[in-house]
Symmetry: D2
Subunit: 291 residues, 4 copies
């Protein structure tokens, strides 16, 4: 799922299932000289919903992007579609929020260096200075926004700053890479499907604080990590990806933390890449992942 | 991937990629009142090949099956398609070949009892009598076809019997569920994509005999199993599914055999179900699996 | 971990860690001509606990079993050990409780047929007759104990019968292989570490009823199964083993149930085998597993 | 398996199995006031070999290190042991050899930054300058040793330089983190068990060049990575760790390379950490891993 050709369009669609949807959309593409390179569609028998990801080559396409969007808006009215289209040459801009632990940040920035992220990490934001050197090494701007000792006014002030810099840098996606501060409901509400968090447990097990301690206490045989969109309710947003690894009684808390770091960074990076490559469709409180 | 609705058609297509394929086929389905329930299509950028699995509901379809086949033959000529269509109410008939170890046979028959196989195990064929009770328990006919001490004439005679009973019972698929005899090249050649074998290693590692001994000798940290179509070359046919599990130095040969049994039966059952549910497309020496 | 030599002793020990424990016990074994074949010991730095599994060959041992037990009782007083010893030729006797779904029962009985269970399935107990044929096929006694429509008196009567037959057949371990009835707190309290259940989720996620529905609702990307000892609190007992598998949006409830069956049976069988091979040590509400 | 207490001794032993080995060694430790914190021992029934890892606390130990070594030499003569002892406060010194791809190097250096490597990366050696910035960022010396266009004399000259800097910096372990040059048989022969390589396939499948191309060609459903000690024969040395991940037909070569990078770096880091934490015992051409 490495991103490749940039001269493509990717269409995500969800709607009530009905006859003729694929035909109408594929016909539209063929008529204007487009070639479908990947199509993944499924209609759920239980919910009656239709989900589709469709990618086509624009190399020989005869319509402009605005004409495509206009045409799709017409189909959307006719079929009552929820849809979005993105262009292969438009890279989403990402702000990574961190506190002091570097493992998730390194992983995301390494993918950027390897050119297989599918977006652009435009800046790193932190309430601490600990990871400024990491951002500098990867030549990404680093901005410290202190949150004080967590007083309400310090938080409110920090949020004003956050909003300003996200706007200034035209950020599309906020990634919480072990950012240990709580965001306000308003900040979250302004970004539905626009904030990804990594929780260090296999949700819904062990919500809240100190999940590795909870896991050790409960005696589970696998620990996990969960990347999800942030919503108003803590640890309850739509799950994008999860992974687990096996643990034994030899794994004390520091071992769980160590094994967990490997899980967290690879789960978060995978989720961010799925999002940036437009492989995630949010439907209610779950996601459809197009692999 | 449990098989469900029977009033469906499943179309598998492979060809050189070209513009308009999806549009033409989905248009054909929509025109005649069909509703696509699942479509999975991918065009390979390296090989230039187009692969698709398309499933649609026949409940309100206005064409007969023979008319569908005729229409598809027309598309096939026009687009140079390799294609096959199957009907949800047609269950393929399977003959399971075994020798003396029961684990794979039990697994397949259990899936049949649980009604999630996607085909019908019409008979069990063996060179020994050891597993006759298993077949009887699941009420599946058991046929012993001795192979003698492996003499050429005994083999040839056994093959004549095999061919006769496979024909008499209209068998579509032969599954070698730890059948410890070699089939003749002619028998194999008559059934391209029609014989599935389970090999007890992660192919292409450890081809040939005693793979667990080879694995122990080489000191691998994971052992595997591979389900593949049988071709003229031993252990070289298209791979359908593979799985692995972790081993340690505490695992001696008997332990590897025990862990391997769990791998073998679940890998073989999964491969057989993928085949029966028409999720496998063979292209050259590899398979495209539609998950 | 296939069971092998029968002429062995297996000692499980837990206690507060202190100097000289391994030396004292290994010295005792060496003095009397025993050879340690496997020893797995760990002292936890956080809890200060010492856990050990020690297996030795009795072939040339000069003490009788009763003398061994007497000697160990002495060490236990001196070092304040919690301990148990078992003999390789003593196979624990198992009663498998089932209702109507056969997959876990088949798996356990198949391991018995393959002779790698490490115990004896002495009977199958059910509130229904559906699986009588499975027990008969594997030549294991089947006993139907109806529970009525769940009335208190019917339950109480069933429990009297259960207790009688478990006593009559000298059952060491009760395995709930998708037994859909609740056991009384008294029945459970009489068997600490003596009842193993399979729960069809990755505990502590999705306790209670319909875990696959809960999983689908929450949109998790992996489903799981958990084998655990039964305690007074539902789904809260010490976990023996867990496993997971990946699911996608194509997996509706029936698919989750199907994938879950594969998880449930292999997780339950593995847990039962670990228990029967004396690889499980219960400490508080968690287990130490000696792999 | 995070490294923790430094005031410990770790003893690795292999020998022909015989009665009294554990007793003698644990007695020795207890006599001098040591407390065993972890002991993992196994005698193989097929080979008759005895393998053990024993870790004990030196905090209250009454013998000096040289006295311990002297005593162990005595046991070694008596029991014909192959053994090694290491001290928790002695960190092995590692040289990482790289060419141009950074993913494995980042992973190792990140573990060092997180302080859970168990050794010290003392330098990075490369035939190119591409990764000098990575070493600099982590404040590790970087040394470029050009190999020319692969001429014999350039190679010989490079090797002289390698030997000199390895000696100057007292390097214990060489890690080939996607180093694309071949080492001379003499260089390898001087370091038995002292060079770890990552091969980007599930060995013994796909030895040699371009394993991802081989994997794609063969149509495997899982790709793998293997960390192993380097010996005279290419890709044939003792395996330390392996891992795999699932691939589909949507994964073309660049995707396999991308997925493979995640496998390679985590497999190599795990192997290096196992080595540095003295959890690897080499016996013939296989390794015993104490988890």
């Amino acid at each position: 799922m490495t991103p490749r050709s940039t001269d493509t369009a990717t269409l995500l669609v969800s709607c009530r299932d009905r006859t003729g949807l694929v035909a109408a959309l594929s016909q539209f593409i063929a008529e204007h000289g487009g070639n479908i390179t990947d199509l993944d569609q499924h209609a759920e028998s239980d919910s009656g919903m239709f989900f589709m990801r469709l990618q086509w080559s624009l190399t020989t396409f005869t319509l402009s992007r605005s004409a495509i969007e206009e045409a799709l808006a017409g189909y959307a009215r006719r079929f009552e579609l929820t849809w979005s289209i993105t262009w292969g040459d438009h890279l989403q801009r990402v702000a990574v929020f961190v506190s002091t632990t570097p493992h998730c940040l390194y992983d995301l920035l390494l993918h950027q260096r390897l050119d297989d992220l599918g977006g652009v990490i435009a800046m790193v934001v932190s309430n601490h200075l600990d990871l400024a050197d990491v951002a500098a090494h990867f030549q990404v701007p680093f901005m410290q926004v202190p949150v004080g000792a967590g007083s309400a006014s310090a938080r409110a002030e920090a949020e004003v700053t956050h909003e300003r810099i996200l706007a200034d840098h035209q950020i599309d996606l906020v990634v919480l890479a072990r950012y240990m501060q709580i965001l306000s409901p308003e900040f979250v509400a302004r970004r539905p499907g626009g904030i990804i968090n990594i929780h260090h447990s296999f949700l819904p097990a062990f919500v809240g604080a100190k999940p590795y301690h909870q896991a050790r206490e409960r005696g589970v045989k696998l620990i996990g990590a969960t990347a999800h969109y942030v919503t108003a309710e803590l640890d309850q947003g739509p799950i994008i990806d999860q992974d687990v690894c096996r643990v034994t009684h030899r794994d004390e808390i520091t071992d769980l933390v160590g094994k967990g770091r490997d899980l967290e960074r690879r789960t978060l990076s995978r989720a961010v890449r799925l999002h940036l490559q437009r492989r995630v469709l949010v439907h209610g409180n779950r996601t459809i992942i197009f692999g």
